[in-house]
Protein backbone atom coordinates (compact mmCIF):
# COMPACT_ATOMS: atom_id res chain seq x y z
CA UNK A 1 0.00 0.00 0.00
CA UNK A 2 1.37 3.39 -1.01
CA UNK A 3 1.35 6.39 1.28
CA UNK A 4 0.97 9.63 -0.61
CA UNK A 5 0.77 13.25 0.36
CA UNK A 6 -2.13 14.93 -1.39
CA UNK A 7 -2.52 18.59 -2.11
CA UNK A 8 -5.11 20.34 -4.27
CA UNK A 9 -5.65 18.03 -7.27
CA UNK A 10 -4.25 14.56 -7.79
CA UNK A 11 -4.76 11.83 -10.39
CA UNK A 12 -4.88 8.34 -8.91
CA UNK A 13 -4.28 5.29 -11.07
CA UNK A 14 -4.96 1.65 -10.12
CA UNK A 15 -3.62 0.72 -6.69
CA UNK A 16 -4.15 1.12 -2.94
CA UNK A 17 -3.23 4.38 -1.28
CA UNK A 18 -3.16 5.80 2.21
CA UNK A 19 -3.92 9.45 1.55
CA UNK A 20 -2.35 12.06 3.79
CA UNK A 21 -3.88 15.45 3.12
CA UNK A 22 -1.74 18.55 2.94
CA UNK A 23 -4.78 20.79 2.89
CA UNK A 24 -8.50 20.38 3.46
CA UNK A 25 -9.72 21.07 -0.09
CA UNK A 26 -8.85 18.21 -2.39
CA UNK A 27 -9.82 16.88 -5.81
CA UNK A 28 -9.19 13.24 -6.65
CA UNK A 29 -9.37 12.10 -10.27
CA UNK A 30 -9.77 8.35 -10.35
CA UNK A 31 -8.59 6.32 -13.31
CA UNK A 32 -8.62 2.53 -12.93
CA UNK A 33 -9.27 0.36 -9.93
CA UNK A 34 -8.32 2.45 -6.91
CA UNK A 35 -8.63 1.92 -3.18
CA UNK A 36 -8.04 4.89 -0.90
CA UNK A 37 -7.87 5.30 2.85
CA UNK A 38 -8.39 8.62 4.59
CA UNK A 39 -7.68 7.89 8.22
CA UNK A 40 -8.03 10.65 10.80
CA UNK A 41 -7.79 13.29 8.07
CA UNK A 42 -9.98 16.37 8.25
CA UNK A 43 -11.71 17.35 5.03
CA UNK A 44 -13.55 20.54 4.13
CA UNK A 45 -14.19 19.91 0.44
CA UNK A 46 -13.43 16.66 -1.30
CA UNK A 47 -14.27 16.27 -4.98
CA UNK A 48 -14.03 12.85 -6.58
CA UNK A 49 -14.19 12.51 -10.35
CA UNK A 50 -14.44 8.97 -11.63
CA UNK A 51 -13.27 8.44 -15.18
CA UNK A 52 -15.26 5.99 -17.28
CA UNK A 53 -14.82 2.32 -16.30
CA UNK A 54 -13.13 3.22 -13.02
CA UNK A 55 -13.73 1.91 -9.51
CA UNK A 56 -12.98 3.79 -6.33
CA UNK A 57 -13.20 2.10 -2.93
CA UNK A 58 -12.82 4.88 -0.44
CA UNK A 59 -12.55 4.36 3.32
CA UNK A 60 -12.85 7.40 5.54
CA UNK A 61 -12.33 6.91 9.26
CA UNK A 62 -12.14 9.53 11.96
CA UNK A 63 -11.93 8.68 15.64
CA UNK A 64 -12.78 12.12 16.80
CA UNK A 65 -14.46 14.09 14.09
CA UNK A 66 -15.07 17.80 14.64
CA UNK A 67 -15.54 19.27 11.24
CA UNK A 68 -17.89 20.25 8.44
CA UNK A 69 -17.30 18.35 5.24
CA UNK A 70 -18.69 18.36 1.75
CA UNK A 71 -17.88 15.40 -0.43
CA UNK A 72 -18.85 15.61 -4.09
CA UNK A 73 -18.71 12.51 -6.27
CA UNK A 74 -19.10 12.72 -10.05
CA UNK A 75 -19.77 9.59 -12.09
CA UNK A 76 -20.17 9.33 -15.86
CA UNK A 77 -20.16 5.84 -17.43
CA UNK A 78 -19.36 2.35 -16.16
CA UNK A 79 -17.91 3.59 -12.87
CA UNK A 80 -18.21 2.31 -9.32
CA UNK A 81 -17.95 4.24 -6.10
CA UNK A 82 -17.92 2.37 -2.79
CA UNK A 83 -17.73 4.98 -0.08
CA UNK A 84 -17.33 3.61 3.44
CA UNK A 85 -17.29 6.35 6.01
CA UNK A 86 -17.10 5.82 9.76
CA UNK A 87 -16.65 8.45 12.40
CA UNK A 88 -17.18 9.36 16.00
CA UNK A 89 -18.06 12.94 16.83
CA UNK A 90 -17.58 14.75 20.10
CA UNK A 91 -18.77 18.10 18.80
CA UNK A 92 -21.23 19.45 16.23
CA UNK A 93 -20.53 17.96 12.82
CA UNK A 94 -22.09 18.43 9.39
CA UNK A 95 -21.32 16.01 6.60
CA UNK A 96 -22.84 16.44 3.15
CA UNK A 97 -22.26 13.89 0.42
CA UNK A 98 -23.43 14.84 -3.08
CA UNK A 99 -23.19 12.02 -5.58
CA UNK A 100 -24.08 12.98 -9.18
CA UNK A 101 -24.58 10.26 -11.75
CA UNK A 102 -24.51 11.81 -15.21
CA UNK A 103 -24.21 8.74 -17.46
CA UNK A 104 -25.01 5.05 -17.75
CA UNK A 105 -24.04 1.78 -16.04
CA UNK A 106 -22.71 3.24 -12.79
CA UNK A 107 -22.82 1.80 -9.28
CA UNK A 108 -22.93 3.94 -6.18
CA UNK A 109 -22.75 2.44 -2.69
CA UNK A 110 -22.54 4.84 0.21
CA UNK A 111 -22.16 3.34 3.69
CA UNK A 112 -21.92 5.63 6.69
CA UNK A 113 -21.54 4.71 10.37
CA UNK A 114 -21.58 7.45 12.97
CA UNK A 115 -21.44 7.43 16.76
CA UNK A 116 -22.40 10.73 18.30
CA UNK A 117 -20.78 11.03 21.74
CA UNK A 118 -21.68 14.65 22.24
CA UNK A 119 -23.58 17.45 20.47
CA UNK A 120 -25.15 16.89 17.07
CA UNK A 121 -24.09 15.08 13.98
CA UNK A 122 -25.91 15.90 10.79
CA UNK A 123 -25.38 13.71 7.74
CA UNK A 124 -27.04 14.58 4.45
CA UNK A 125 -26.63 12.24 1.52
CA UNK A 126 -27.86 13.37 -1.88
CA UNK A 127 -27.60 10.94 -4.74
CA UNK A 128 -28.88 12.33 -8.02
CA UNK A 129 -29.38 10.22 -11.14
CA UNK A 130 -29.78 12.38 -14.26
CA UNK A 131 -32.54 12.03 -16.85
CA UNK A 132 -31.85 10.08 -20.06
CA UNK A 133 -29.53 7.72 -18.19
CA UNK A 134 -29.88 3.96 -17.78
CA UNK A 135 -28.65 0.93 -15.80
CA UNK A 136 -27.47 2.82 -12.75
CA UNK A 137 -27.55 1.50 -9.20
CA UNK A 138 -27.65 3.79 -6.15
CA UNK A 139 -27.59 2.31 -2.66
CA UNK A 140 -27.33 4.10 0.67
CA UNK A 141 -26.74 2.32 3.98
CA UNK A 142 -26.59 4.85 6.80
CA UNK A 143 -26.50 4.01 10.49
CA UNK A 144 -26.07 6.16 13.55
CA UNK A 145 -25.84 5.56 17.29
CA UNK A 146 -26.86 8.20 19.80
CA UNK A 147 -24.28 7.71 22.53
CA UNK A 148 -24.68 10.91 24.47
CA UNK A 149 -25.09 13.05 21.35
CA UNK A 150 -27.69 13.07 18.61
CA UNK A 151 -27.43 11.76 15.06
CA UNK A 152 -29.50 13.26 12.30
CA UNK A 153 -29.50 11.57 8.89
CA UNK A 154 -31.14 12.70 5.67
CA UNK A 155 -30.99 10.04 2.96
CA UNK A 156 -32.02 11.59 -0.36
CA UNK A 157 -32.09 9.90 -3.72
CA UNK A 158 -33.27 12.00 -6.67
CA UNK A 159 -33.96 9.89 -9.71
CA UNK A 160 -34.89 11.40 -13.08
CA UNK A 161 -34.58 8.19 -15.06
CA UNK A 162 -36.82 5.12 -15.25
CA UNK A 163 -34.00 2.62 -15.51
CA UNK A 164 -32.38 2.66 -12.12
CA UNK A 165 -32.12 0.52 -9.00
CA UNK A 166 -32.23 2.77 -5.96
CA UNK A 167 -32.49 1.84 -2.31
CA UNK A 168 -31.70 3.38 1.02
CA UNK A 169 -31.50 2.01 4.53
CA UNK A 170 -31.25 4.34 7.47
CA UNK A 171 -31.28 3.49 11.15
CA UNK A 172 -30.58 5.60 14.18
CA UNK A 173 -30.74 4.21 17.67
CA UNK A 174 -28.86 3.39 20.81
CA UNK A 175 -26.74 0.33 21.58
CA UNK A 176 -28.62 -2.91 21.09
CA UNK A 177 -29.66 -4.27 24.49
CA UNK A 178 -29.58 -7.91 23.35
CA UNK A 179 -26.01 -7.50 22.12
CA UNK A 180 -25.01 -5.91 25.43
CA UNK A 181 -26.62 -8.74 27.40
CA UNK A 182 -24.94 -11.28 25.13
CA UNK A 183 -21.47 -9.89 25.82
CA UNK A 184 -22.20 -9.55 29.53
CA UNK A 185 -23.36 -13.19 29.59
CA UNK A 186 -19.81 -14.10 28.53
CA UNK A 187 -18.46 -12.36 31.64
CA UNK A 188 -17.67 -8.95 30.15
CA UNK A 189 -18.60 -5.94 32.29
CA UNK A 190 -21.03 -3.37 30.95
CA UNK A 191 -18.52 -0.62 30.19
CA UNK A 192 -16.22 -2.96 28.29
CA UNK A 193 -19.20 -4.51 26.49
CA UNK A 194 -20.33 -1.05 25.37
CA UNK A 195 -16.82 -0.23 24.21
CA UNK A 196 -16.61 -3.45 22.21
CA UNK A 197 -19.98 -2.84 20.56
CA UNK A 198 -19.23 0.76 19.65
CA UNK A 199 -15.89 -0.24 18.20
CA UNK A 200 -17.53 -3.08 16.32
CA UNK A 201 -20.18 -0.76 14.92
CA UNK A 202 -17.57 1.57 13.49
CA UNK A 203 -15.22 -1.18 12.36
CA UNK A 204 -18.00 -3.13 10.61
CA UNK A 205 -17.69 -0.47 7.92
CA UNK A 206 -13.90 -0.58 7.87
CA UNK A 207 -13.25 -4.32 7.58
CA UNK A 208 -11.06 -3.95 4.50
CA UNK A 209 -8.83 -1.41 6.21
CA UNK A 210 -8.61 -3.48 9.40
CA UNK A 211 -7.67 -6.60 7.41
CA UNK A 212 -4.90 -4.73 5.63
CA UNK A 213 -3.63 -3.21 8.86
CA UNK A 214 -3.20 -6.55 10.60
CA UNK A 215 -6.44 -8.43 10.58
CA UNK A 216 -7.89 -7.64 13.94
CA UNK A 217 -10.11 -5.07 15.56
CA UNK A 218 -7.29 -3.99 17.79
CA UNK A 219 -5.59 -2.36 14.82
Amino acid sequence: MNKILVSDIIDLESGSYILNLKNKDITLNIDGNVTGYLIDELIDNLIINLKDASTFNLYIFNKCYQNNSIIKINQFNYSNINLNMAYINNDNVNVVINNNIYGNNNNSKINVRNISNNDNSKIIINVKVDKNTSNNIALEDLKGINNGGLVHIEPNIEVYSNEVVANHLTTIGSLDKDSLNYLMSKGINMNLAKEILLKGFIYSNMDDYITKMGGDNNA
Binding site: K186, G187, N189, I196, G200, Y203, N205, D216, N217
Partner: protein, 246 residues
Protein backbone atom coordinates in the same frame (compact mmCIF):
# COMPACT_ATOMS: atom_id res chain seq x y z
CA UNK B 1 -24.54 -25.69 43.50
CA UNK B 2 -27.72 -23.98 42.17
CA UNK B 3 -30.85 -23.54 44.25
CA UNK B 4 -34.12 -21.93 43.22
CA UNK B 5 -36.01 -21.32 46.47
CA UNK B 6 -39.72 -20.44 46.52
CA UNK B 7 -39.45 -18.51 43.27
CA UNK B 8 -42.31 -16.51 41.86
CA UNK B 9 -41.51 -15.38 38.37
CA UNK B 10 -43.30 -12.63 36.49
CA UNK B 11 -43.03 -10.95 33.14
CA UNK B 12 -44.90 -7.66 32.72
CA UNK B 13 -47.06 -8.48 35.78
CA UNK B 14 -48.05 -11.84 34.30
CA UNK B 15 -47.09 -14.69 36.61
CA UNK B 16 -45.12 -17.47 34.91
CA UNK B 17 -44.19 -19.63 37.90
CA UNK B 18 -45.39 -19.85 41.49
CA UNK B 19 -43.35 -21.21 44.34
CA UNK B 20 -40.78 -22.89 42.11
CA UNK B 21 -38.12 -24.95 43.89
CA UNK B 22 -35.19 -26.72 42.30
CA UNK B 23 -31.79 -27.89 43.55
CA UNK B 24 -28.96 -28.90 41.26
CA UNK B 25 -25.63 -30.19 42.55
CA UNK B 26 -22.22 -30.12 40.91
CA UNK B 27 -21.92 -32.73 38.18
CA UNK B 28 -25.67 -33.36 37.98
CA UNK B 29 -27.71 -33.19 34.79
CA UNK B 30 -31.29 -31.91 35.04
CA UNK B 31 -33.72 -31.87 32.13
CA UNK B 32 -36.61 -29.41 31.98
CA UNK B 33 -39.50 -30.56 29.84
CA UNK B 34 -42.87 -29.05 29.09
CA UNK B 35 -45.22 -27.95 26.37
CA UNK B 36 -44.37 -24.97 24.18
CA UNK B 37 -44.92 -21.68 25.97
CA UNK B 38 -44.89 -23.16 29.45
CA UNK B 39 -41.90 -21.03 30.43
CA UNK B 40 -38.86 -23.30 30.18
CA UNK B 41 -36.73 -20.68 28.46
CA UNK B 42 -37.86 -18.11 31.04
CA UNK B 43 -36.31 -20.25 33.78
CA UNK B 44 -33.06 -20.35 31.81
CA UNK B 45 -33.13 -16.58 31.43
CA UNK B 46 -33.83 -15.80 35.09
CA UNK B 47 -30.99 -18.07 36.19
CA UNK B 48 -28.74 -16.10 33.82
CA UNK B 49 -30.07 -12.82 35.24
CA UNK B 50 -32.30 -11.41 32.48
CA UNK B 51 -33.76 -8.27 34.02
CA UNK B 52 -36.88 -8.34 31.86
CA UNK B 53 -38.31 -10.64 34.50
CA UNK B 54 -39.42 -9.83 38.01
CA UNK B 55 -38.29 -12.43 40.52
CA UNK B 56 -39.52 -13.04 44.05
CA UNK B 57 -37.73 -15.64 46.15
CA UNK B 58 -34.07 -16.62 46.24
CA UNK B 59 -31.59 -17.93 43.71
CA UNK B 60 -28.43 -19.32 45.27
CA UNK B 61 -25.25 -20.36 43.53
CA UNK B 62 -22.57 -22.16 45.52
CA UNK B 63 -24.30 -20.92 48.67
CA UNK B 64 -24.24 -17.26 47.56
CA UNK B 65 -27.49 -15.36 47.07
CA UNK B 66 -27.31 -14.25 43.43
CA UNK B 67 -30.93 -13.09 43.08
CA UNK B 68 -29.93 -9.47 42.58
CA UNK B 69 -26.70 -10.01 40.67
CA UNK B 70 -26.37 -8.83 37.06
CA UNK B 71 -25.85 -11.08 34.04
CA UNK B 72 -22.17 -10.13 34.09
CA UNK B 73 -21.73 -11.02 37.76
CA UNK B 74 -23.43 -14.38 37.27
CA UNK B 75 -21.32 -15.15 34.21
CA UNK B 76 -18.21 -14.35 36.26
CA UNK B 77 -19.37 -16.91 38.82
CA UNK B 78 -19.43 -19.54 36.07
CA UNK B 79 -23.04 -19.58 34.86
CA UNK B 80 -23.34 -19.99 31.10
CA UNK B 81 -26.44 -19.96 28.91
CA UNK B 82 -26.37 -21.53 25.48
CA UNK B 83 -29.30 -20.01 23.64
CA UNK B 84 -31.44 -21.69 21.00
CA UNK B 85 -31.00 -18.63 18.75
CA UNK B 86 -27.62 -16.99 19.42
CA UNK B 87 -27.58 -13.42 18.14
CA UNK B 88 -25.10 -12.01 15.65
CA UNK B 89 -22.89 -9.01 16.34
CA UNK B 90 -21.43 -7.13 13.41
CA UNK B 91 -17.91 -5.78 13.71
CA UNK B 92 -16.95 -7.87 16.77
CA UNK B 93 -14.94 -11.03 16.22
CA UNK B 94 -15.13 -14.14 18.36
CA UNK B 95 -11.43 -13.74 19.15
CA UNK B 96 -11.83 -10.17 20.32
CA UNK B 97 -14.80 -10.93 22.55
CA UNK B 98 -13.23 -14.06 24.01
CA UNK B 99 -9.92 -12.31 24.68
CA UNK B 100 -11.71 -9.67 26.73
CA UNK B 101 -13.92 -12.25 28.46
CA UNK B 102 -10.94 -14.44 29.36
CA UNK B 103 -8.97 -11.49 30.63
CA UNK B 104 -11.95 -10.46 32.78
CA UNK B 105 -12.22 -14.00 34.13
CA UNK B 106 -8.57 -14.48 35.02
CA UNK B 107 -7.76 -10.86 35.86
CA UNK B 108 -4.62 -11.17 33.74
CA UNK B 109 -3.66 -10.18 30.19
CA UNK B 110 -4.19 -13.02 27.76
CA UNK B 111 -1.23 -14.92 26.35
CA UNK B 112 -2.17 -14.53 22.68
CA UNK B 113 -0.16 -17.53 21.46
CA UNK B 114 -1.69 -19.94 23.99
CA UNK B 115 -5.13 -18.37 23.46
CA UNK B 116 -5.04 -18.88 19.69
CA UNK B 117 -3.69 -22.40 20.07
CA UNK B 118 -6.47 -23.33 22.48
CA UNK B 119 -9.14 -21.88 20.19
CA UNK B 120 -7.72 -23.79 17.23
CA UNK B 121 -7.76 -27.04 19.20
CA UNK B 122 -11.38 -26.46 20.22
CA UNK B 123 -12.34 -25.71 16.61
CA UNK B 124 -10.79 -28.97 15.54
CA UNK B 125 -12.76 -30.84 18.18
CA UNK B 126 -15.99 -29.14 17.06
CA UNK B 127 -15.25 -29.66 13.36
CA UNK B 128 -15.49 -25.90 12.98
CA UNK B 129 -13.31 -24.11 10.45
CA UNK B 130 -10.56 -22.15 12.23
CA UNK B 131 -11.46 -19.03 10.24
CA UNK B 132 -14.49 -18.63 12.54
CA UNK B 133 -12.13 -17.55 15.34
CA UNK B 134 -11.50 -14.24 13.60
CA UNK B 135 -14.91 -13.84 12.06
CA UNK B 136 -17.64 -11.57 13.39
CA UNK B 137 -19.82 -13.25 16.00
CA UNK B 138 -22.40 -15.43 14.24
CA UNK B 139 -22.59 -13.10 11.23
CA UNK B 140 -23.64 -15.04 8.13
CA UNK B 141 -23.54 -18.32 10.06
CA UNK B 142 -26.00 -21.19 9.73
CA UNK B 143 -27.93 -22.44 12.77
CA UNK B 144 -25.50 -25.32 13.18
CA UNK B 145 -22.45 -23.08 12.98
CA UNK B 146 -23.91 -20.72 15.57
CA UNK B 147 -24.38 -23.57 18.04
CA UNK B 148 -20.82 -24.73 17.47
CA UNK B 149 -19.55 -21.18 18.01
CA UNK B 150 -21.42 -21.05 21.33
CA UNK B 151 -19.72 -24.32 22.26
CA UNK B 152 -16.38 -22.80 21.26
CA UNK B 153 -17.04 -19.97 23.73
CA UNK B 154 -18.07 -22.47 26.41
CA UNK B 155 -14.97 -24.63 26.04
CA UNK B 156 -12.73 -21.58 26.34
CA UNK B 157 -14.51 -19.92 29.27
CA UNK B 158 -15.04 -23.20 31.18
CA UNK B 159 -18.27 -22.43 33.07
CA UNK B 160 -19.37 -24.53 36.05
CA UNK B 161 -23.11 -24.38 35.30
CA UNK B 162 -24.31 -24.79 31.73
CA UNK B 163 -27.87 -24.11 30.67
CA UNK B 164 -28.65 -25.59 27.26
CA UNK B 165 -31.83 -24.00 25.96
CA UNK B 166 -33.02 -26.14 23.05
CA UNK B 167 -29.53 -26.16 21.64
CA UNK B 168 -30.53 -29.16 19.53
CA UNK B 169 -33.35 -27.34 17.73
CA UNK B 170 -32.86 -26.75 14.01
CA UNK B 171 -29.80 -28.98 13.75
CA UNK B 172 -29.36 -31.85 11.32
CA UNK B 173 -28.74 -35.36 12.61
CA UNK B 174 -24.96 -35.21 12.36
CA UNK B 175 -24.76 -31.77 13.96
CA UNK B 176 -26.91 -32.87 16.93
CA UNK B 177 -24.64 -35.87 17.46
CA UNK B 178 -21.54 -33.70 17.34
CA UNK B 179 -23.02 -31.13 19.74
CA UNK B 180 -24.14 -33.89 22.12
CA UNK B 181 -20.70 -35.52 21.99
CA UNK B 182 -19.00 -32.23 22.73
CA UNK B 183 -21.23 -31.48 25.72
CA UNK B 184 -20.73 -34.99 27.08
CA UNK B 185 -16.97 -34.60 26.74
CA UNK B 186 -17.12 -31.24 28.51
CA UNK B 187 -19.22 -32.80 31.29
CA UNK B 188 -16.70 -35.62 31.74
CA UNK B 189 -13.77 -33.19 31.76
CA UNK B 190 -15.03 -30.37 33.99
CA UNK B 191 -17.98 -31.95 35.89
CA UNK B 192 -20.27 -28.94 35.58
CA UNK B 193 -23.92 -28.88 36.59
CA UNK B 194 -26.06 -29.00 33.46
CA UNK B 195 -29.62 -27.91 32.80
CA UNK B 196 -31.04 -29.17 29.51
CA UNK B 197 -34.19 -27.81 27.94
CA UNK B 198 -35.18 -29.99 25.03
CA UNK B 199 -37.93 -31.68 23.09
CA UNK B 200 -35.75 -34.39 21.60
CA UNK B 201 -33.93 -37.47 22.81
CA UNK B 202 -30.52 -37.22 21.14
CA UNK B 203 -28.93 -34.84 23.60
CA UNK B 204 -30.32 -36.35 26.80
CA UNK B 205 -29.60 -39.90 25.68
CA UNK B 206 -25.93 -38.95 25.75
CA UNK B 207 -26.20 -39.03 29.54
CA UNK B 208 -26.85 -42.23 31.44
CA UNK B 209 -28.07 -40.59 34.61
CA UNK B 210 -30.17 -37.45 34.89
CA UNK B 211 -33.20 -35.99 36.61
CA UNK B 212 -36.30 -34.80 34.77
CA UNK B 213 -38.74 -32.05 35.77
CA UNK B 214 -41.94 -31.56 33.82
CA UNK B 215 -43.32 -28.02 33.93
CA UNK B 216 -46.94 -27.03 33.59
CA UNK B 217 -49.51 -24.82 35.25
CA UNK B 218 -46.82 -22.45 36.60
CA UNK B 219 -44.90 -25.14 38.49
CA UNK B 220 -43.01 -28.43 38.35
CA UNK B 221 -45.75 -31.03 38.11
CA UNK B 222 -43.71 -34.22 37.84
CA UNK B 223 -40.17 -35.15 38.84
CA UNK B 224 -38.48 -38.27 37.60
CA UNK B 225 -35.50 -39.79 35.86
CA UNK B 226 -34.58 -41.10 32.43
CA UNK B 227 -37.73 -43.29 32.36
CA UNK B 228 -39.95 -40.21 32.69
CA UNK B 229 -38.14 -38.52 29.81
CA UNK B 230 -38.56 -41.63 27.68
CA UNK B 231 -42.27 -41.74 28.52
CA UNK B 232 -42.76 -38.07 27.58
CA UNK B 233 -40.77 -38.38 24.36
CA UNK B 234 -42.73 -41.51 23.38
CA UNK B 235 -46.27 -40.56 24.39
CA UNK B 236 -46.27 -36.78 24.83
CA UNK B 237 -47.41 -34.75 27.81
CA UNK B 238 -51.12 -35.66 27.59
CA UNK B 239 -50.51 -39.20 28.75
CA UNK B 240 -48.84 -37.99 31.94
CA UNK B 241 -52.32 -37.11 33.10
CA UNK B 242 -51.04 -33.79 34.45
CA UNK B 243 -54.52 -32.52 35.42
CA UNK B 244 -54.79 -35.50 37.76
CA UNK B 245 -51.46 -34.63 39.39
CA UNK B 246 -52.39 -31.04 40.23
Amino acid sequence: MLELINLNLYIKDKILFKDLNLKINKGEVHVLMGKNGVGKSSIAKIIMGDNNYKVEGIIKYNGQDITNLSIYERAKLGIYLLNQTPIQIEGVTNAEMLRVALSEKTGKPVDIFAFNKELENICEKLELDKSFIHREINVGCSGGERKKIELLHMWLLKPSLIILDEIDSGLDVDAIKLVAKSIKEYANTYKPAIIIITHSSTLINTFTDFQVHVLDHQKIVVNGNKKLAEKVLKNGFKNLNIEHLL
